[in-house]
Each structure stands twice: as C-alpha cells, then as structure tokens.
Amino acid sequence: MTQKNRLDGGQIDRNTTLNFTFDGKTYAGHPGDTLASALLANNVRLMGRSFKYHRPRGPLTAGSEEPNAIVKLRSGARQEPNTRATTAELFEGLAAKSQNRWPSLAFDAMAINDRFSNFLTAGFYYKTFMWPAAFWEKLYEPIIRKAAGLGSLSMQADPDEYDKGFRHCDLLIIGAGPAGLNAALTAGRAGKHVILADEDFRMGGRLNAETLNIADMTGADWAAHTVAELSALPNVRLMPRTTVIGAFDHGIYGAVERISDHLATPPTGKPRQILWRIYAKQTLLCAGATERPIAFENNDRPGIMLAASLRAYANRWAATPAQRIAIFTNNDDGHRTAQDLHTKGVKIAAVIDTRPDAPRSHDYEVLRGAQISDTKGRLGLTFAEVTLSDGSNRTVECGALGVSGGWNPNVHLTCHQRGRPTWDDTLAAFVPGGTLPPGMTVAGAANGTFSTHGALKSGADAARKALGIKGRAPAVPDAEDAPITQTPFWYVEGCSRAWLDQQNDVTVKDVKLSHQEGFRSVEHLKRYTTLGMATDQGKTSNMGGLAIMAELAGKSIPEVGTTIFRPPYTPTAIGALAGRMRGKEFHPTRLTPSHFWAKERGAVFVEVGNWLRAQWFPLPGETHWRQSVDREVTATRASVGVCDCTTLGKIDVQGTDAATFLNKIYCNGFAKLAVGKTRYGLMLREDGIAMDDGTAARLAEDQFVVTTTTANAAKVYQHMEFVRQCLMPDADVQLISTTEAWAQYAVAGPNSRRLLQKIVDSDYDISNEGFPFMACANITVCGGLRARLFRISFSGELAFEIAVPSRYGDALMRKLMEEGEEFDVTPYGTEALGVMRIEKGHAAGNELNGTTTALNLGMGRMVSKAKDSIGSKLSERPGLNEADALMQVGLRPVDAGDKVTAGGHLMNATGPVDAKHDQGYVTSAAYSPTLGSMIGLGFLKDGGNRMGETLRLVSPVTDLTVKVEVVSAHFVDPEGERVRA
C-alpha cells in the first residue's frame, strides 16, 4: 500500500505501520497520524458531505475546529457519529465510515439538494410547508427529518465506562503551545502546583506544525524538551488529550481527558474518558488562534483548506492533499505555508495574494493583487479561476488550495461567563476583553500576541503575574518576532455561493438574504441562517458572517454584535458528563439492616426513593402478588406480622427547649406530652399545607424521637434545622438524624405483645397496663441489648414498633421470626403495610401530596389555636377553608366485584362527567382481604357530610367507570378498640 502523498520528515513513527479502513477500503498510516492526515497521505481528499446540500467535502483544518471531515468512527455499540477525522488518532484496525450520504460518498443521491439550492435558501422552510396543516407531521417533516441529521447512533447502550474526578492547582494552563509551555515552565520551576492541559495528544501546539526555531533547536524539539523537563517536576501535572470544556463559577473548570480513544478498545479497568472538575486558583488561557478563511465562489471543494492547516499536515504529519498546490492569502502567513510546502517538495502552482504589494518569491510565482473567482472539481479541486490585478482571468491547475485570511484568537473560554470579547483594529479580530472569568488571564496568540517570541514571553509574564512570582524574569529563548498586521479581507467581491459555514451550508448569499429580510443582529443572523450552529460551533465561520453583515448594514463589526461562545469548547460525549451514574448506579441504593434476611426469604423488593424495601414475601405456590399480600394482611390481623420500617426518618431532638421546639414544628400541641408517651403529630409548611406526619416520642424531659415518612425524611430534617437555626436561634435544642442508626420493626397483630414479651427483657412490663397505647420507653431485649419500644400502630392492630442499633437489625428480625414460630409470625412488606393503612384510613404520601391541608385530611381541629406553630396563620386563609372543601373519605364499590382506581375522579351519581362537575379524586386504593372488596381513600368536596352517598368513580384514561359509596375512611375497627387491646 503506497502513501502517495506522504512527504519526508514529520512527527510520525515510520517504523510502525497502522492499517485502517475508510468506507471499507484499507489504508496504511503511522503512529502520530490522525485519521485525516493518514487519509491525505493516501491521496484521499473526499471525507464527508455537507449538511444541507450534501456537497462533497474534505478537511478544511487540522484540528478541533473542523467543520467538514466528520465521520462515523468504530462500529457496533462503540459507533461514534460525527467524529472529526482531524483529531481522531490513528490506531491499528481503526474503521471509519463517511456519513450523511446515500448510497456512497462519491455518489450521494441527496446531492440533488445542491441543484435546488436556490429554493433552499436561509429560512425557506419558515415560508412554506404550511398547507394543508396536517401534512406537516405526515409528509413534510418526516422527509426533512430523514434528510437532516449527520451521523447515526448505534442505538445500543454505550459499552464503555466513564469516570469523574477532582483536581486542584495553583495555576491551570489551558493549551500547551509556546505560551502555555513557557508559562508552565515558569510556574513549575517556582514550585507552584500547575496543571497543563491540551486537547492534542502531542503537546507543543503550533510549534509542532511550524519550521520555526526556538533558541538553537526546532520549535517541535523545544516543545519536546520542555515537556520532558515539566514531566520531571513533581508539582506539574501534564494532561494531554484533555479538553477544557468550560469555565464555571469560582475557578471551577470542566475538562475531559480522553484515556482510551486512541486505542481500539479501552484496556480492562480503564474508562474511555474522565471528566475532571479542576479547581484552579488562577487560570492562564493559552488556547492559541484559529486561522480564518476567505469566502469565494465554490470555496468548499475537497482540497481547499486553511493554509496553516496545509502547513501543519506537511510539517507535522508529512502529508499533503496534493502534489500541486496553490495558496490564496491576504497576509504574510500564507507565504510561510507556500515556503514550507515548497521546501517539502510540493509544487506551488501560485500564491494568489490580495495585496498589490505582496512579497515576491524566488521559489514560486506570486500573483499580486489577485483574487480567486471560482473553482472547479466535483469530488476534489482541479482548477482555481483567478482574477488578476489587471482584471484578466487565469486558470491555475491545483489539487489543493490553501486559504489564509488571518487569525482569530481563541477567546472561547473567556466568554463562558458571558464576558464579551473586544474588537482590536490592528489585528482586525476580536481579542479577550471585558469581564473575564475571575482568576483568568490570557497569553499568547489567544490574547492576540501572534509571534513565537511574543507567545513565549507573554506566557512567562502572565504566569509570574498570576502567581505573584518575584525576582528577575529569566530570559526568553530566541524566537521569531515578526510584527503582525492583519488587513481584513473577508470575501471576494461578487461571490454568491461562497461558503461561510461549510457544515451547515451557509453562504454569503444567505447572509445577504438574512439582511434583506431584517435579521440583522448577530443573534438573528445565526438563528435565521444557522450560521455557526454546526458541530464546529462556528470556529471558522462566525467572523466571516459577522463581517459581511456589518458591511451590508454599513456598520462596524462590533456594532453588529460580538459572537459569544458557550460551553463546551468542543462537543463532549454525554457519557463523560454522566460518568458512572448510570444503570443500577444511577442513584445510590440504600439497604436496611435486614435486607439480606429478606432476600433469603425470597422477598420482592421495590424502590422507595433510594431505599429498597421488601414489597411482599411470596411463598411457594403463590403465583400472583395479590395472593402473597392478602395472606400477609390476613395473617397479621389474625395473629402477628413483622414489617421492616427502618426507612422511616428518625430525628433525635434534645435540649431543654425540645418540647417548645416541637410545639412550633407541629400544628398540634407537644408542650405537655408526658415522658414515656408518644403522640401523633402533623406538621405544616409555613403556607399552611400539610408537610408530613409522624410521631414524636418523649423519652426524657429533654429528649424526643421524631419519626417522619420515608419520602420526606430529608426534607423534614432540613425544615427543622431551618426553624432551629433561623427562627429559634436562641432556643436550647439540638437535632440529629438517626435514620441510619436504628433498625426499626413494626410488630403488629393480636399476638404482637406475646411475641415481644419473649424477647423484651423481663425488667420491662409491656402489658396493656404497664405499657398502654402510645407508650414509649428505652428498654433492653434479648438479655441486655438496648432498644426503644413504641406502642404505635399504622395497621390498626395492637402493635408496637421496636428499634435496635442498626447492626443488630438483622439479628433482631431473625430472632422475631424464630420466637414467632409458635404464632405463625408472618413478615409483611410494603404492599400489606399499604393495604392495612388504607383499611385503617391513615394518610400517607398519596394523601400528603403537598396540596392538602389538615382540614382536607380530616384533622382540621388538630391545628391548635392556642399557640403559634409553623403554618398555623396561613392555614386560616379563606381559600383553604371553603365550605365545600375536600375532605378525606373512604370509598367502597357498590358492586363488590368492581375495581377502585387511585387517580380516578369522583362525579355525582348523575349529571355530566367533566372537569366542571368534578367532586374529588381517589388517592389510594387496594384490595382489602378483610372486607372482601377493593376499597379506596379519596378527597371529596364536603366529604364529611356525604356519608352513604353513591358516586361515580371515573377514570377515562384507564377506561373505568364504577359506582362507589362514600363511607368512613376507617374501614377497620373505627372505634380503635384493637390498638388499645
């Protein structure tokens, strides 16, 4: 396999050959190549198709600003659409495919769009496809969607892993060109903690692409020497292959390090990429500059490239797109490209310089004051049409054309906190200005200092200044220090189909149309024409569009508006931003101490927030969950059941003002609760709406244990801290969440006391007299293990909750099962828990939905008027106390076989069924094995006065209408005899 366009020299390892394929064809390259450089070396210029017109395209650049050469890299689940060939490192076996073409890259049927380009101008779609209305979704849009888009996803889960990490430094240097390297050297030698990050796999920036010398060595060698010295400094961390994607508040930078993208697959245990959050005390942006093109007719053919990119391919990669090349320039830098190519043995067809006074050369012809008027070559450049200074035309044969319109500083990261760059007339470019992100300074070409000497010096100076390094500055090594002036030359007069945004196919004509139609601010321009919205984020296109708009509007460029840039600096894999938080690791999983016991019992688990809770415990032979749940309910009500309720929030409240504090937190009174007693408490938000309910047990004069619902544990704790620290700062009260410190179990059913008596140490009397309903105490169990016992009931049965330190939770559960054998003790899960609380009419999350009041919940009278508590005042507002306010009721189907659905709405027995006649809704529903039918809880207008009424429960979204009877919410033991037994 020959690499026809491979030159001598370069920073590639010719001793190793890497085989790769593009569109199925095999090629060879070398380590150090990018996909683009290797393809160019193999005489491949055509690498992609444009977005709208499907024009044939080759690489425009040699870096991350590339708009054209984007390919589908890898295959199968690792397929990466829209990958820039110009930054993809070559590896053995790399497989890339062109994209957005059919059937092939060379013949793309969609290129028909190019023939109709006159109809497909900027914003044409806003003006048509409107009739008939239904055709948009059915006809026009599907066609547009199919044609649009670039690459395709594999639709398989990304098989690679991503990591995240934090790093800290005194100085973060972004970009390892001459400015960045010299800054790192300066700061590193001074002993500062430095991170030097560069998106490239080889540090050195433009030094690797140039033939310029620093001191007595080539720039590339100087860069390699400097990198070697830096890597020996323990206080300097070099991060190649690392793109700083964003400048966030307070010196926090996001950076993505590509760990394995240069390999066929990530090595075992290695991630594909790592997202670093870099905390930098100071930041030095040395991101260099991007060459800007000149727009001329048909300036988008494969082979037409930025001149300095051609130079980079030749010098760094020893590759050239063609053996005969022309240069079109408005500045001296274009001549540097011509000289370097000539030195490498590439034939320079001509240098077309717009300046009448352009320098001449002995090595090649310079056409002074000339411009390119058009180009030829369907799948690759063949000829350039040149208008000479005397107005005559000349055809220049060339396989590639280097275009140089000057340089734009890479100000992107300076804009990430919405700072706007300022216009520099000398450079005819935007430079960093206005408000930079705090702690950031800019050096080198990114700051408009384009010479090598200037970059080296400004890098060192900026590092010294940022870090306050004192003493005499070391000498700057010798390097070229050519003065730079840039005279703007944006486009060739009279051109029309001259591309500004090559990927999105935005031409000079589109900008003109945008102006003609009144879309004249930079924001309107980019949105109307899609200029700069492609995957290259307008790095090579925005300025040209802006300049043309300014000219049309008769304004200066800064008057039209500055383009500002947003993160990320280059497109960033979504996987990298997600890291390991995916699949089962999306959120942490909280397990209760008896989780593994439950697992042994074959429990089915359910996600409750981050907790996993046993939902039911199927027995052999049970084929439907209802069988298990019905059995658990029946067994508990008949004898005894045990349920893990560890997940309830538990908050320890201590201090001499603990009672006063709780009296403020709960709407009902707590000041007079006796030691050894527990009370149900309802807490309101300040706006008078119920926030949560639970119990508070007074274990001592100055100690309460508060329980919250599982869902609201964190929120209630936060609320209590707010009240404590912000509203009652002088009170003597301390809080701590003990949710994870105690394992807690509900032991419920008529035999619950008998079971507990077997494990509670005999010092403690838990008889009905010694430990009545709502009692609480610190006790010991199993021969001295400290425990807490509460006689509270969610099920409506005689019940207790017993808590032991978490590490004994598993043992306690096993002990309860063992000791309970004689009572046929039954573990029950959250479903049975739910069924029993509905049967008993207890409110839970579905009723405490953030919009319900104490009144709605049937607890209006609990809100004490005798004291001030959080929410008490605002709960008095008329809208929360209307005569027909929703009240919690019970619902039973008139026909016992009918279904009751939570989420169903309640309608009167007769009359219309619509929102205007809505009477309320069903919050919770379950099959009650105790009653032998489904039952529900709901909120009903004026519900307290409608007992016995028949209503329609409608759920059109699940296609259900049933008749239900309004009953008391307390389906089971309404008098509460069982809980007191």
Binding site: D249, H250, I252, E686, E721, Q725, C726, L727, P729
Partner: protein, 89 residues
C-alpha cells in the same frame, strides 16, 4: 460554585441545599402581625439583580445554615456567615 464556610473553609456548593432568600428569617411576630404581613413574608421577594442575601443549608456537611451574600448577576460571593445567632464564629 465554592462557598467559604466560616467553620469548615471552602466547600463546593453541591454539598449545600439552597433554601431561598435570607428574608425568610424575618418571620412575622405571631402576636402582632397582620394577614398582609404574613402574605408578604411568605410570598413576596425582593429578587434583586445584584447583591442577594440567601440561605444555604450544609446538608452534606455540618448541617449549618449559612447566610451567603452573592451577586445574582455574576455569582460572586462577598460574605458568608452562620445563620444562627450566637453560634461559634
């Protein structure tokens, strides 16, 4: 963002839960406040574009509530103090 905790030093804002404007500390006196006072306290905010005093709860830390003075246009933080009066500084 980084919040310089008076007791613990610089901390990532991701450790905190934002509770809202520091005005929330000025709960009306239940003995004397009118319905309007309660309405204004619970529902109206200055919401300035500029310096804003606000409450951040250090949920992933020492559970202090901090009063952070922060510019809502730049996110620059100029002061951080403990909300609880008399708390150790």
């Amino acid at each position: 963002m980084i919040i310089n905790h008076p007791l613990l030093g610089p901390r990532d804002s991701a450790e905190f839960v934002y509770l809202g404007a520091a005005e929330l500390m000025n709960r009306p006196d239940p003995e004397t406040a009118s319905a309007d006072d309660w309405h204004d306290y619970a529902y109206l905010r200055d919401n300035p574009a500029g310096t804003h005093r606000e409450l951040w709860f250090h949920e992933g830390g020492d559970r202090s509530i901090l009063i952070v003075t922060r510019d809502t246009t730049t996110h620059e933080i100029s002061a951080v103090e403990l909300a609880r009066r008399g708390a150790p500084k």
